[in-house]
Symmetry: none
Subunit: 207 residues, 4 copies
DNA sequence: AATGAATGAGACTTCATTCAT
DNA sequence: TATGAATGAAGTCTCATTCAT
């Protein structure tokens, strides 16, 4: 009994902390998506999460800490979502599926996507996140590249492409398309872009 | 004599004002590229341009005015540069040439490019520039679209593409590629991307 | 058996509490000597003592409590050390011995001395400690005065001095010397000051 | 006329700034004497001087800047006052006169004296002012030493003293006496201390 | 036209303090 | 008893903005 009680108490402290952190991050994602990084204040994050004005500073150490944590949170989440969505073995199908998934998840999860793009903008001038984002880019491109090479080996994709550049360009198109859509969501039809992109890519990669 | 003097003075005043404004804008471009919009202060712009701390506020009316003016300046300049670079009539060649030009001018003019991308990030959350940037996107895509349609009419490009989406995707790839390069200029070879992109695009558009 | 157990537990609780308090105070002395009162936080004291961030507040009731306890601790300790060091009966020898002891103990115990001087500075503006420190001064001077009067009665010291002022001035020289040394320990030779002071005092008090 | 106007204008800007700085410093001296450094806020200094809450930060760059400026101000002022008070050539008379002046100016200018002692306390833990204060000490002691050596050369003072240590001890007595007085002004008679000190010093230095 | 003095709002940050476990 | 989660107050600092010269 006593052991159980202690465990419960201990767990409950840790849980409390964990829940608070998750709520703060969720509030931060929303606010950053709406207003951008600089116009999101620590106080607002605390209050939007239902806590005090001071808690975000307490947890994340300050604004910098929040930004870094936020970047890790968004990047990690996106990576995990992509992995879960992979239903094919390495190759052309998985490549095209991942591209389509990128379009669809942007539409489905506009808030988080917008927050990630805000971070990408910040990355241009904020050393705290530059590396992390560059690494995200590199990792994403690398995944495309792996699939391209597998597809070439399988004869699904022509062998004379520069797989590395091609991978970067695929990621580029996805990013650029979503970026334009975020600036004018009412004007741009994301699913049309998805279909056209998949078709074009199939043609340009065809052996 | 008096009239002449007045004219001369007036012109010299106007010129001085113009030169000062240009210098202020140039300084702003540089600082924004280095630090981002929020971390660029009006005073710094004034001093970096060799004037007083107060002049930018005097000229641009305030920070918002500076941002708007800066956006117009960068967008206008880029558009004019593109026009100057067009050496072919509407069609596939001009399309591919414009794409290549986009890559090359980013590499050649990294500071201005970076400043423009900072503005694109800002556009996600700042109504002052959102419309202007969305319009830039729409205009750029429209230009690609026009060329695509001309090329289709000429039989250079297959007729079953969605010209509107295709145009957006072309712009997307350009933006996304330069965006990745700005985050990791040492890692990414922009001219390799240019060549691979032109080749891929040619294949995917081929009739 | 039961009573014994309770006593043992109670004693062990009390001991634990006492040991914790001593460790906290020792940590506080060190931190205050290094950083000053305001820059020493309760959390730091707890952690530096090997306990939790919250313990100092728990024990001392708050920052004020810590300051007051610290003052009592340092003052009491210094007084007891002086008593232990007294090897002569009241009179000139004990007076000169106490003066020399003051110099030596400052050199030997720089951390505690520094902490005490930090408190003396704080005493100028913090009513919590002003009286305690003024009383320390008064008591110290009184001790010198008692020895002076005994020495006058014994004929060791000239009778025309103002014993009260003289006592204050002796304490003043000790304090002022150590104060200068704490600001520039590498520049000032404390033992040279001790010898010169004892010699000067002997001459000025000589009948 | 025009030139005059310009001069007036220019001078008036500079004057405005200068006057503001002097008023801010005067307010800072008063507040620091009353509450200590940490409990004096920049806002209070601004308002006490009749300006805005933000002006001190604007002028001094921040709290650190204020502390440094304040130290320079007080140290410089005290030095100049001492020089003005010197009515004798180098030697014993000037030495004793300076000592007496030190007591008298503390009594006359209690606020500034208290502020200087607050800074001396701060100097123990704040690298920003440590050196400045150590230098003040060294300079003050050096002045006493110079007078001691002149007096020895003139035969007014015995030759077997350690002039350097003696000088430090004289400064020490002055500092220590004023320090005690500041902690208990009602209990301690500063002029009695002055007279007793001058008498004692004369005896201990007499050839 | 141009400078720079002065204001004041707002955000970050740091902690003492309180409270639940 | 002891921990550490959470609060909230207060101060520093940075700037956009306004205004006098």
């Amino acid at each position: 009994m006593r052991t159980l009680t202690e465990r419960t108490e201990r767990r409950s402290q840790a849980e409390r902390r964990d829940e608070a952190e998750q709520r703060l991050l969720a509030a931060a994602v929303r606010l950053v998506a709406e207003r951008g990084l600089e116009r999101t204040t620590l106080s607002e994050v605390g209050e939007a999460a239902g806590y005090s004005r001071g808690l975000p500073a307490h947890y994340f150490g300050g604004k910098s800490g929040l930004i870094v944590t936020l970047a890790a949170h968004l990047i990690g989440r996106f990576g995990r979502a992509l992995e879960r969505a992979e239903r094919h073995g390495p190759g052309l199908k998985r490549l095209l599926g991942a591209a389509a998934f990128y379009f669809d998840s942007a539409a489905k999860d506009q808030t988080r996507t917008r927050a990630l793009f805000v971070l990408l903008g910040e990355g241009l001038n904020n050393a705290l996140v530059t590396d992390r984002l560059a690494e995200l880019n590199a990792r994403s491109a690398k995944t495309f590249e792996t699939n391209l090479r597998a597809a070439i080996a399988d004869g699904e994709v022509r062998a004379d492409i520069d797989a590395e550049s091609q991978a970067i360009l695929i990621l580029a198109a996805l990013r650029g398309a979503v970026g334009q859509w975020l600036l004018a969501p009412k004007t741009i039809d994301l699913s049309a872009l998805r279909d056209e992109f998949v078709a074009s890519l199939s043609r340009s990669l065809a052996p």
